[in-house]
């Protein structure tokens, strides 16, 4: 026996099957000696095997944020609209007026998707959808952010195809429109793809549900399918480096999803919540039964006691360790007001769903688990849930940044012919149309998709049938909602920028998302972030994390988009392939006041004037917007240079100004300049409208940029002029008769604006000081539309 403290006297001896707690076993559970010491202090004795497993998952980065918590404190989290703030519950909730609110959150499923792309991605969707209906909201829209290696690699194609198929399988069957997203391809994700899934739900203010085990003596119900051995300790798996060995061994840690079951559990749970018999509700996500029991008790300041023999089990002879740590999907823990148990039974039997009463709420503050007549777990719930160790990892500026910051354009040959450059840019998988992806997602179910994938931001309408079922009392009390609310959403992150300058890149991620919302006519309501990084134990990576969060937080403040919650995914690195580019993806949700304000990116009518809002180039940027640009990567094979600086005040004025112009009724299209710069932005506006299958609407444009070019007193390289990614620029169109009005309005609003061309014809023509360049729309469209499908065939 080790020299650890003896078992407490009221703690019964465990069956012989449990292994002895050795330093090796502790290490295997990813607990450091110091952390284990803290476990011993909390318990005052040696933990049982099951308890060790429980501390291991609850104190993993995934559940505890032990490395990131201090950094995350810098996010703005408050606004008058926030009804449930970051960290309080499973998802934040924001007021959208008329008694309605939205719940939304993003979450990663990176490691499971790396080893089993289909199920990994599918259950990622399942998990985030569950987080939303756990709040009492009806899930009505999903978006996602994906990263993969180079499509030339067959293994990457396998991952890409599996992930898309998995998301489609789960979302389509559940019946949620997957309506927007982003996909980037970069070598840094070769061994470690990223799958970040976002879900948004709708509810009335009165319908907010809480994940708290309230009411001493209240019964605790388990609902949903039986517990199996799948997904054992997935949260712990997500909180360590991926290795070839771990990937193979951990395939069993990937859960298996059943969207059909999720749909039933969702409907039944919402129906049950309407009865008012629910005291608390929590989904069993990461760390399954463990996390849901100790967190609900911790939130309510109560204790909870459960009996594992009552838990429905799929496999025979499951141990308490397995039952407590299983991440079998589509399960919920529901605390019911005593005396109203029959309502749970009635509703779950109506939906043919398994249920079991497995325990009750206590006043002890302890989480107690019994199995086969033994107490196998007896730990203070609050200490387990809230007192995970907190670390302040060392941060050090990465060495590679010295070369990045010193990079200048002198040695980079200027473009000789921008025609092939633009074609190559549009056909680059990261810039190309993602129709191969979103065509596989049902993005129209629920009859609410106003702007489908393919524009700057997706827009859905919220109508009466988006609201979960209401109790008779509530129905009698509130004015029925008969109107429509328009909600826009987007997810963005240019991780190349973040890699090259984490602070500036973090700012740009939020700014681009808010700019996309402004282009669609929306005002930001709130943001949810997913911090995807390598190991925080590497000081250079922790520096990336800290700096990018500083940028994200500053930008969220600038645009009044408080963070309502999010997710951290660390240890995204695989052996010799190294860490991923730092990828803090940001989803921002906004509100559009009126249907007339909904704006799309494509050009509308021949004869319309094309205007550029914002400065052509940032004169303070020595790289003229080419640092970290897509052109530098695609045309010159370089991934370096400081990214274009992003002035947040300038951005705020642009976004507010654009929204004012849109509300003024003169703007017919709006599309922001991002990857590929002005030329790619205008080209996309010519080719991105889709009428039907195989029926794009192509509409040309002629730009005359000579005057603008001549006005630049420092001069500009042609490649930087056409493909530079200077921030805070938007291309809009307006009827020719409204040009004067728009220019005058823009001046009052403080937004630089200039007429740069005219819509029409079957070519994109750009006149510069150096000459005129021309592209047939069919050529632009072909590469842009088909390149991903061609890579996948």
């Amino acid at each position: 026996m080790s020299s650890a403290p003896p078992l407490a006297s009221n703690f019964e001896l465990l069956p012989m099957i449990d292994p002895a707690i050795t330093p090796e076993l502790v290490a295997k559970h990813n607990l450091t000696p110091d952390e284990y010491q803290k476990v011993l202090e909390i318990l005052g004795r040696t933990p049982s095997y099951t308890e060790l497993g429980i501390f291991s998952v609850m104190w993993s980065e995934h559940c505890s944020y032990k490395n990131t918590r201090p950094v995350l404190k810098s996010f703005p989290t408050r606004s008058p609209r926030i009804l449930v703030g970051a960290g309080e519950e499973n998802a934040g909730i924001v007021d959208i007026g008329d008694g309605l609110a939205i719940a939304f959150k993003i979450e990663s499923h990176n490691h499971p998707s790396a080893v089993e792309p289909f199920q990994g991605a599918a259950t990622g969707v399942g998990g985030i959808v569950r987080d939303i209906f756990t709040m009492g909201a009806r899930p009505v829209a999903a978006i996602n952010s994906l990263r993969f290696g180079d499509l030339g690699n067959p293994q990457v194609r396998h991952l890409f195809s599996g992930v898309v198929h998995g998301i489609a399988h789960y979302g389509n069957c559940f019946g949620i429109p997957t309506i927007a997203g982003e996909v980037y391809f970069d070598k840094s994700y070769e061994g470690n793809p990223l799958v970040n899934a976002f879900c948004l739900g709708v509810l009335r203010h009165e319908q907010i549900a809480r994940g708290a085990a309230k009411g001493i003596g209240n019964p605790v119900f388990y609902v949903g399918p039986a517990t199996g051995r799948d997904g054992l300790a997935g949260a712990a798996f997500a909180s360590q480096d991926l290795t070839e060995e771990s990937a193979e061994k951990q395939r069993g840690a990937v859960q298996v999803g059943d969207p059909f079951m999720e749909k039933l559990v969702c409907e039944a749970s919402l129906e049950l919540l309407a009865t008012g018999c629910v005291a608390g509700i929590q989904d069993m996500g990461a760390a399954g039964l463990t996390c849901s029991t100790c967190e609900t008790a911790a939130r309510a300041g109560t204790g909870i006691e459960i009996e594992l023999n009552k838990v429905p089990q799929r496999a025979p002879d499951m141990t308490s360790y397995e039952i407590m740590l299983s991440e079998s999907q589509e399960r919920m823990l529901i605390i019911v007001h005593k005396g109203r148990e029959a309502e749970v039974k009635r509703i779950f039997e109506k939906w043919d769903l398994p249920w079991a009463e497995i325990g009750f709420v206590t006043d002890t503050g302890q989480m107690v688990v019994r199995h086969n007549g033994h107490v196998v777990v007896d730990v203070p719930a609050k200490k387990l849930a809230d007192e995970a160790p907190v670390y302040h990892p060392e941060a050090r500026i990465p060495e590679y940044l010295t070369a990045v910051r010193a990079f200048r354009l002198d040695g980079v040959p200027q473009t000789v012919d921008p025609v092939p450059d633009l074609l190559a840019l549009l056909a680059d998988p990261s810039l190309a149309s993602k129709n191969w992806v979103y065509r596989q997602y049902d993005h129209m179910v629920r009859d609410g998709s106003i702007v489908c994938p393919g524009s700057d931001a997706a827009v859905i309408r919220i109508k009466a049938d988006s609201i979960p079922p209401m109790s008779e009392d509530l129905r009698a009390k509130v004015t029925p909602f008969s109107g429509e609310k328009l909600v826009a959403m987007t997810v963005d992150c240019n991780a190349t920028y973040v890699y090259l300058d984490p602070y500036e890149g973090g700012k740009i991620a939020v700014t681009e998302a808010c700019r996309n919302l402004a282009c669609s006519g929306a005002t930001p309501l709130g943001a949810t972030d997913n911090l995807n990084f390598g190991s925080p134990q590497n000081p250079e990576i922790f520096w990336q994390l800290r700096e990018s969060v500083r940028g994200l937080a500053e930008a969220c403040r600038a645009f009044d988009a408080p963070v309502t919650g999010g997710n951290c995914s660390l240890y995204n690195q695989r052996g010799a392939l190294g860490a991923i580019d730092p990828t803090p993806t940001v989803a921002v949700v906004g509100l559009i006041e009126k249907i007339e304000h909904v704006t799309t990116q494509w050009f509308k009518d021949a004869g319309d004037a094309i205007l550029l809002l914002g400065n052509v180039v940032n004169s303070a940027d020595p790289l003229q917007g080419l640092g970290g640009s897509a052109w530098l990567r695609v045309a010159r094979g370089l991934k370096t240079g400081s990214p274009p600086p992003c002035n947040l005040e300038e951005a705020r004025i642009l976004h507010d100004g654009l929204r004012s112009l849109i509300r003024g009724g003169s703007i017919k299209s709006a599309h922001d300049c991002s990857e590929g710069g002005l030329a790619a932005c205008v080209a996309e506006s010519c080719i991105s409208q889709l009428i039907a299958r195989e029926t794009p609407r192509l509409i040309g444009a002629t730009l005359d940029l000579i005057v603008i070019q001549q006005a630049l007193k420092d001069g500009i390289r042609l490649d930087a002029f056409l493909f530079g990614e200077s921030q805070n620029r938007v291309v809009v169109t307006t009827e020719i008769l409204a040009v004067g009005k728009v220019l005058a309005q823009a001046k009052i609003l403080g937004v630089p604006a200039a007429v740069i061309g005219r819509v029409g014809g079957d070519h994109l023509r750009i006149q510069t000081e150096i000459g005129q360049f021309s592209w047939a729309l069919t050529d632009l469209h072909d590469g842009w539309w088909n390149s991903i499908a061609r890579a996948m065939d």
Binding site: F174, F260, M261, L690, I691, A692, R693, T695
Partner: protein, 236 residues
């Protein structure tokens, strides 16, 4: 008029169909799959979704739902029944419509707008569609490839039972306009008695211009007009 919209486990377009009917100024109720009666229905819609998860064959389990017995009786007595997407699959599995729907030929799910050419404008589901009008309506399915043996196809053609075919923007029935590999580009059919129809595209998602198209209304309007002139038919 009053529509019964079936609610099977994991029907997920049930609300959309109710919404579409209401937009047209009529009423609809959801009918639970365990109910043996359709209530006061003038017509029935079997909506889209993934009934029972569709883990076996799409619609294969749904056809055993208690409510399907009532649908069978309603159809046998001449009532109008429209199956959309998964609803079309269920009606085929239930034997109310001939043929079957199998995996799309590229094995991928397709969600996109398609053009439909109406093959027979003299049925209760099509007679209000203006002559020559192509309908632009979205599809969203993984198993929409219509399949039937030669004899059945011949009967469908001879009987004017092919209601809609996938076509291009010019109305041409081409292979590239066929999203799923359906034989004869078939998107929707009706039974010989012409009171039961099914189609893979979603008219319920194309009933308001705010959603990009309201061409789906022509199908519902045809049904409503039929009911108005024939007198409403009450289900048992």
């Amino acid at each position: 008029m009053h529509f019964a919209v079936l609610q099977l486990p994991a029907s997920n377009c049930d609300q959309d169909c109710v919404h579409a009917v209401r937009v047209l100024g009529h009423t609809a109720d959801l009918v639970w799959h365990k109910d043996a009666s359709l209530g006061r229905a003038d017509a029935v819609i079997v909506p889209g979704g993934f009934s029972y998860g569709d883990y076996l064959r799409c619609g294969a389990i749904a056809r055993f739902s208690p409510v399907m017995q009532a649908v069978n009786e309603f159809a046998a007595s001449g009532g109008l029944v429209l199956g959309i997407c998964n609803g079309f699959q269920i009606l085929c599995e239930a034997g109310l419509l001939p043929g079957a729907l199998i995996r799309n030929r590229d094995l991928q799910f397709h969600c996109e707008q398609v053009y439909l050419k109406t093959g027979n404008a003299e049925t209760p589901f099509t007679h209000q569609i203006p002559p020559g009008k192509l309908l632009r309506i979205p599809i969203a399915h993984g198993d929409g490839c219509y399949f039937a043996d030669e004899q059945t196809l011949g009967q469908l053609q001879a009987g004017g039972q092919i209601l809609w075919q996938y076509c291009d923007a010019a109305g041409q029935i081409t292979d590239s306009s066929n999203p799923n590999g359906s034989l004869l580009n078939i998107a929707g059919i009706c039974n010989a008695a012409r009171n039961v129809a099914g189609l893979m595209p979603h008219p319920d998602r194309a009933s308001e211009m705010i959603l990009g198209s309201d061409d789906g209304r022509w199908i519902f309007e045809s049904m409503l007009h039929t009911l108005a002139v024939s007198g409403t038919r009450r289900a048992a």
